[in-house]
Amino acid sequence: MKASPVNVLVIFYSCCGRTEKLALAAAVGAVQARANIRMRRLTDSGEQIPECKEALARMRKEYVPPAQTDVVWADAVIIGMNGKVAGVVEDAAQATAFGRRIVGETRAIREGQG
């Protein structure tokens, strides 16, 4: 019997395309594991990075930000962002706090609007 596919939501924050590339690799890995995927880019805060102008314009056009329906759809979530953006560059407690914040806020969204 074939197991029903797992839905994986890949959320990432990228301005120059480096984290996007990693997010793509994670998404392909999920597909290889026979999951369904959705890729969603977190809206940037209007960054202007001259050397990343093209990548930024392209990603703003190609991706949409995560919606509530994406979160409800997902069985698993993969998050990609650099440590500075996530605020986890100083110590392990920050990483744990970051993880807990993600879980808590996602739950709040789901329960609040679901």
Partner: protein
């Protein structure tokens, strides 16, 4: 939809600057044929290409590919046919092929675009027992296609009017062919037409 190994026959008109954001495919041979305009392709294999008329793109999704497709122009629409064909096996290595040919190579004849083995260059290799042709026929121009035993065909009219063994088909129509050993395609008024022919097991 499903006819032999053919799974999807899709026609899209994409407005300038619009397209399909990154999404995944698995275990599918995906052919893209542009009728008008330019399509920008990007994928997780690192391929980035612009596809135009008189070219064929074959993305073999295999174990998994994520790709996006956008109209490459901010001013002109793009008109595109996309075809999904089941591969012979699952979990194959993903690959990307794109080849261009001269417009006259499909005029008044069937130009081979994809086959399981390289037999005419340039063309793409498909990992299925299928042969894909494009043919453009002026008014009254005729081309024949003969089949081996136990072969089937899907003929998609992508432009104008074409008669297939006496049946008139117009843009967007398709003929499903079984138990025939020969097809006769003729361009019909006012301007002839263009077909994609899939010779299938």
């Amino acid at each position: 939809m499903g006819f032999r190994a053919l799974r999807v026959m899709n026609e899209d008109r994409i407005a300038p600057g619009k397209g399909f954001g990154p999404h995944a495919h698995r275990d599918m041979e995906i052919l893209t044929y542009v009728l008008e305009g330019k399509l920008l392709h990007r994928d997780s294999m690192g391929e980035q290409h612009v596809l135009g008329p008189n070219e064929i793109q074959m993305m073999s999704a295999g174990s998994g590919v994520v790709h996006s497709e956008f109209n490459a122009s901010e001013t002109e629409p793009v008109h595109v046919i996309q075809i999904w064909i089941s591969p012979q096996a699952e979990d194959l290595e993903p690959s990307y092929q794109q080849v261009a040919f001269a417009a006259e190579e499909k005029r008044g004849r069937l130009r081979l675009l994809a086959a399981p083995n390289l037999s005419e260059k340039p063309m793409t290799v498909i990992r299925q027992d299928a042969r894909v042709y494009a043919g453009e026929l002026a008014v009254h121009e005729r081309v024949k296609h003969t089949f081996d035993a136990e072969r089937y065909a899907w003929v998609q009219v992508v432009k104008g009017n074409v008669s297939i063994n006496g049946q008139l088909l117009s843009e967007g129509d398709a003929a499903v062919v079984s138990a025939e050993r020969e097809l006769s395609l003729i361009g019909i008024e006012p301007a002839g037409g263009e077909v994609l022919l899939f010779d299938l097991r």
